[in-house]
């Protein structure tokens, strides 16, 4: 099984879910307004979207902007922490990985 989002209609916090759609490497992924990019990806069943220097997959680790394992490119901006950035309808997200020899 994978991560998932508590469905709004059964959520005890009684909340609204305003749908939005982002694309991830060209594929539309649905989410809800207010979610982070990482939250949209996780809730969509995707556990990893970046790889370490060896090519091994990485996903969300710290979830609060400290570990930098969840970096993505959003609307052409590289190195955005997916766990910190709220998703906006129509965001174009592309996955990214460290380039060989890249310092940061």
């Amino acid at each position: 099984m994978s991560p998932r989002i508590v469905p709004a209609r059964t959520d005890a916090v009684r909340r609204r879910a305003t749908p939005l759609t982002i694309t991830v490497d060209g594929v539309p992924v649905p989410g809800a307004d207010g979610q982070t990019v990482a939250g949209v990806l996780l809730a969509g069943g995707r556990l990893s979207w970046r790889s370490g220097p060896s090519g091994a997959p990485r996903g969300v680790f710290c979830g609060i902007g400290v570990c930098f394992d969840c970096l993505v490119t959003v609307n052409g901006e590289r190195d955005v922490r997916a766990c910190r950035r709220r998703a906006c309808d129509g965001d174009v997200v592309t996955t990214q990985s460290r380039e060989p020899g890249e310092e940061r």
Partner: protein, 516 residues
């Protein structure tokens, strides 16, 4: 507290003192409220778009949740406090604000200048602002400290804080068959959040044995009674675990995560009191997620940038929450891990003093008492949930220590034991451990600990990798050294943003009570 006329008289040139508070968690929010009460003008800023910090992490405004409070403790008090601060005419709330540098002015008695980037996280369109406050309160909090273990880099392995942030912050649950492991009372609320969201928590593992935990908690019981709020909260979690029949096992840890491209199973083992895994006690548990934490690391880059002295890995403060840096005050987890009630008391005192209030004023006497009880609680926590010195026993030569640079234990150990490269700085440059994007925030304490154990004068252990028991091991304090906190740029800033001149866009002028 009542308004203190002495404090109000201390306003600079008849104008209210300007207090900048960094971090809007329990400590920062309390600091803002106390500074307002003492008559100051306050700018409260946070990297998030809503106040609350990690403890009271709010659901996004767009969720329009009717009952956000059911996910929290002390929610009504928090709501009252944040509403008071956010609507106060002398307060400005700056959401989405990352402090990327503190600049110490030439005149050495003034508070540092605060360089802020405002806008969506890591965006290119953020704008720079510079604040020049009369006093600065740092309340930047802490993040999970996770010791390395084989497979900890696999997707599906989360810090306990990540699981909590996703569940409380946007209702995403990390998995359905989850093990929560590590050390400390934080394991309990994380397990509770997962249960609330419908996950199956298979077991909660506290690495310390019952003897250590009980000795720490039962020492000086009157201190615990004084923290009754926290004790009741913890009792509620253990009750929830019992109702869901979730085993809480002491003296056991996850020593490995395994899987093909993601975590599929974890290996747990019994530990001795010093956290050395006991051979033959291993069990394999199928999971779809693992949540792990071994304690907390304070976020020290801003205190270090401000020139604050550290003591045993935390910001050193006096009885009035003053740091050693002029005009800089500190509150909350950066002065010691003690939980939200203690953070609030420290924040109240820090904000009051920063605004020019007299810390010996009788109106803050109760706050001082609560702060002192909070500090006693912190000492108790540290005693009940120490990190054992035997944890490297679960490392293997190919275990990653630095996640960013994928520096493994073999490489690090070899560099640390080589007399030519063994100094921590040389180890860092030679192995790249700690030089990746996270800038040692994740691996720094572990690298410092492992390097401190090097024993070049003694014969290597049988495999050349296990910790050498022939020399006395240094105890592991909260953090081994401050060196890995020195980051001239505290938060990532893009070159374009650096080149742009600071200022505020016109539409932001006069903004006081942005509700976002």
């Amino acid at each position: 507290m009542t308004r203190n006329t002495d404090a109000r008289a201390r306003h600079t040139g008849g104008r209210p003192r300007h207090v900048v508070v960094v971090g809007a968690g329990p400590a920062g929010l309390a600091a803002a409220a106390a500074a307002l009460r003492a008559g100051a003008r306050v700018t409260l800023l946070d990297a998030s778009d809503r106040p609350g910090g990690q403890y009271h992490r709010m659901l996004p405004a767009a969720y329009e949740a009717e009952d956000n409070g059911r996910l929290h403790h002390g929610w009504d008090d928090f709501e009252r406090l944040r509403t008071h601060v956010q609507s106060h005419p002398r307060a400005e709330w700056w959401p989405d604000s990352a402090v990327w540098a503190l600049e110490r002015p030439d005149d050495t008695t003034s508070a540092p200048h605060v360089h802020v980037l405002r806008g969506p996280a890591d965006g290119t369109e953020r704008y720079r602002s510079v604040l020049t406050p009369d006093a600065l309160v740092l309340a930047t909090g802490a993040h999970d400290r996770v010791l390395p273990f084989p497979g900890w880099q696999l997707p599906g392995v989360f810090t306990a804080g990540a699981a909590q942030a996703l569940a409380k912050g946007e209702r995403v649950v990390v998995g359905d068959e989850v093990v929560v492991a590590g050390s400390g009372p934080f394991l309990l609320p994380v397990a509770a959040s997962l249960l609330e969201a419908g996950s199956d928590v298979l077991e909660v593992l506290e690495a310390n044995p019952a003897s250590t935990v009980l000795r720490g908690w039962s020492r000086r019981p009157w201190e615990l009674a004084a923290q009754s709020g926290k004790a009741a909260e913890l009792a509620e979690y253990t009750g929830l675990l019992a109702r869901h029949r979730v085993p809480y096992r002491l003296g056991r840890a996850v020593i490995e995560a395994r899987g093909d491209g993601r975590v599929e199973e974890v290996v747990t083992a019994r530990l001795t009191a010093d956290w050395t895994p006991v051979p033959g006690t291993e069990r394999t548990v199928p999971v779809d997620a693992l949540c792990v934490t071994h304690g907390f690391s304070p976020q020290l880059e801003l205190p270090v940038a401000a020139g604050c002295a550290l003591s045993e890995g935390f910001v050193q403060v006096d009885d009035a929450q003053r740091t050693t840096a002029p005009g800089v005050y500190a509150a909350g987890e950066i002065t010691g891990i003690a939980g939200a009630p203690a953070a609030r008391a420290e924040g109240l005192l820090a904000g009051w003093t920063a605004a020019g209030g007299d810390p010996s004023d009788r109106t803050v006497r109760d706050v001082v008492r609560r702060r002192d009880r909070g500090r006693a609680f912190a000492a108790r926590l540290a005693a009940a949930h120490p990190i054992g010195t035997g944890w490297p026993g679960w490392l293997r030569p190919d275990t990653l220590i630095c996640r960013c640079e994928e520096t493994d234990y073999r490489t690090l150990r070899a560099a640390a034991e080589d007399p030519a490269t063994g100094a921590p700085r040389a180890v860092k440059l030679g192995t790249r451990a700690g030089l990746g994007p996270c800038q040692a925030r994740m691996c720094g304490p572990a690298v410092a600990d492992l390097c401190a154990r090097r024993a070049p004068d003694s014969a290597p252990a049988h495999d050349g990798l296990a910790p050498d028991r022939s020399v006395p091991e240094r105890a592991v304090p909260g953090l081994a050294s401050a060196s890995h906190h020195r980051r001239p740029v505290a938060q990532p800033i893009r070159l374009g943003e650096l080149a742009a001149s600071p200022g505020r866009p016109p539409e932001e002028e006069g903004e006081h009570t942005d509700e976002r």
